[in-house]
């Protein structure tokens, strides 16, 4: 796994590097000391895994993740910060406490490897060809002090709210600072379809489709919510759904 270590402290990076020596499948391709450096390196190198210190000058690790277009697997490393760890509503990935114990590091790496799909090459290809996200890709969401790692396929609906987008998944609906238009460009319309000006819907969530007034359509989601497909999008929707 191509890995980047992100920590503002030189000695901490050095220590992590030396601890990772005994894992032959971890290939360290770079180190970053600040969030900005890290964002640039991650977008350029598209690593499989990053070790991320939460407290860094200027921006925290969370702020950094929020800026990423491409989110690799993340193992958080922190000295001690209940507050920061509490931020995670859905703790999709692991975190390590400094000084890191060998067996905890091993566990964390195993966990990351298991969460990988069996054929990594196939998964990475679409990401490299265009920047669109696959259903299995994880996204990082941050609303105020709370953070989530979510698999894209677990999101039901994206709803536009001014300059923000509300993301519906599980029992959560965080508000993130993104525009629905930008988001639409990053999603594959075979998975997520823009039904009108306000909503992008996960197609796997749709249970019923009915014709509606003015040539529009109404769709029903698994959780019973009804949403309207605009007339303009209805034609496109039919094209997409028919063989």
């Amino acid at each position: 796994m191509r890995t980047i270590i992100i920590d503002d402290e030189r000695l901490a990076r050095k220590e992590m590097r030396s601890m990772l020596e005994r894992f032959p499948n971890i290939e360290i391709i770079g180190e970053a000391a600040t969030a900005d450096e890290a964002v640039e390196m991650i977008e350029r190198e598209k690593p499989d895994l990053i070790f991320l210190d939460i407290q860094m000058p200027g921006k925290t690790g969370f702020d950094m993740l929020e800026e990423l277009e491409y989110v690799p697997k993340v193992i958080f490393v922190t000295a001690y910060d209940e507050y920061a760890l509490k931020a995670f509503e859905v703790n999709a990935l692991d975190y390590l406490l400094k000084p890191v114990e060998d067996h905890r590091l091993e566990e964390a790496i195993n966990k990351v490897q298991q969460s990988k799909s069996p054929n990594p090459e196939e998964l990475r290809l679409p990401v490299e060809n265009d920047s669109r996200l696959a259903p299995e890709d994880q996204i990082f969401l941050k609303d105020g002090e709370k953070c989530w790692f979510v698999m894209l396929k677990d999101v039901r609906v994206f709803e536009s709210e001014g300059n923000y987008v509300r993301v519906y998944f599980d029992n959560y609906k965080p508000l993130i600072l993104k525009s629905l238009n930008n988001l639409e460009k990053r999603l594959d319309e075979r998975d997520f379809f823009r039904i009108n000006r306000k909503f992008i819907v996960n197609l796997k969530e749709i249970t019923h489709i009915e014709p509606w007034f003015n040539g529009g359509m109404q769709i029903k989601l698994k959780n019973g919510v009804n949403l309207e497909v605009s007339r303009r999008q209805a034609a496109r929707f039919k094209d997409l759904m028919s063989l």
Partner: protein
């Protein structure tokens, strides 16, 4: 000593009421005693009422006058050994005054003829001794009550102080021996063991010294500035390992103030804040400067400067600086009243925290503390 004006107000009227109630009850008891004595001796007639009333009125008014003198002489705040001879002389003086008065009125009372105001010498002598004894007794009770009250007040003050020290200790575990600092430092030392074993050893020793010091801090009310600066130095050296070229620090302590006594960890808390809220946010790093000088008028001023940005409304600082700083301020307030201060303000190119302490008061309190042990 700082006393809340509101509580002082309440206390005053309360104390006044208690004082007058005690006066009335006391002297009433005293005349009752006279009555019983006379009853036992079988010398009761209507005239006794006059005697009793005279004794009662005389007792209250003279003892109140005596209290006015006690207060104006400042006997209450005197050391007890210095106060005792004064109390005795005062009692004798009032014994004489009372005898004169009593002899004067007893003529009025018993003969109904105001013949002479100078009573027979023998009568005066007879009266003087018991009256002096009574006023001495009154003084003993009065001073005992005052001392008891002061003792209680001191106890409350000590309790409040110790609970605040306790809180500081608790918040030390969060900020001082801020676990974040501790684990990061341990992690750095771990990496240093390979890279620079000599520095690794030094750092471990520094770490233990900081640990030991913060464990001891709760037991001591004062440490010398020199001792405190050793902790600060150890702390900064350790942070320097972590921050590398991002941290520079300067410590300048004037020779005069090295032995000044200060509350433990008061400088350290500010230095930690300087790192946590100043340097740690600066990508390029910055400078921490600690200096201590003596000021005119027997004061010592300790300044902690960092080249960070001042953000009092920062979400993060609300959480932790809040505790550390307000705790330090409260400790200073309890120890020195309004004669000490701790202030933070933004300065050209950074943030300056200034601690100002009265020098003489420190040694006084220190002695006081020693006396207690």
């Amino acid at each position: 000593m700082y006393i809340n004006p509101i509580t002082l107000g309440l206390g005053m009227s309360d104390e006044k009421a208690i004082y007058w109630l005690t006066q009335i009850c006391g002297w009433f008891g005293y005349v009752l005693l006279i009555l019983f004595q006379n009853l036992l001796a079988g010398q009761v007639d209507v005239g006794i009422i006059k005697v009793l009333i005279a004794n009662f009125v005389l007792g209250i008014s003279l003892s109140h006058a005596m209290r006015v003198i006690i207060l104006s002489l400042g006997l209450l705040s005197m050391k007890i050994l210095k106060a005792i001879p004064r109390i005795i002389s005062l009692s004798i003086f009032f014994g004489i005054v009372a005898s004169l008065f009593y002899a004067g009125i007893s003529d009025l009372l018993f003969t109904n003829v105001p013949t002479i105001l100078v009573p027979p010498f023998r009568l005066l002598l007879e009266l003087f001794f018991p009256f002096s004894t009574i006023y001495l007794f009154w003084n003993i009770l009065y001073f005992a009550a005052i001392y008891l009250k002061n003792y209680e007040r001191e106890e409350v003050k000590n309790l409040r102080l110790s609970s605040s020290i306790h809180e500081v200790e608790l918040s030390n575990l969060r900020s001082q021996l801020n676990p974040h600092f501790m684990f990061n430092a341990l992690n750095s030392i771990k990496a240093l063991i390979d890279e620079n074993p000599v520095l690794a050893k030094k750092s471990l020793t520094r770490m233990s010294s900081i640990l030991r010091n913060s464990l001891m801090a709760e037991k001591r009310r004062f440490v010398s500035l020199d001792e405190e600066m050793k902790v600060v130095q150890d702390y900064l050296e350790l942070e320097k390992i972590r921050y590398d070229h991002r941290l520079d620090f300067v410590i300048e302590i004037s020779e005069k103030v090295r032995r000044v006594q200060i509350p433990p960890l008061i400088v350290q808390t500010c230095v930690e804040n300087a790192i946590k809220h100043g340097i740690s946010h600066l990508i390029e790093g910055g400078l921490v400067k600690v200096s201590a000088t003596s000021l005119e008028g027997g004061r010592v001023e300790i300044k902690i400067f960092n080249s960070g940005a001042y953000a009092p409304n920062n979400k993060e600082s609300k959480e932790s600086t809040g505790i550390g700083l307000s705790n330090s301020q409260r400790r200073l307030n309890l120890l020195y009243g309004n004669r000490a201060s701790l202030m933070i303000k933004s300065e050209a190119g950074g943030v300056l925290c200034t601690i100002s302490l009265p020098l003489s008061e420190i040694t006084e309190s220190q002695n006081h503390e020693n006396n207690h042990h």
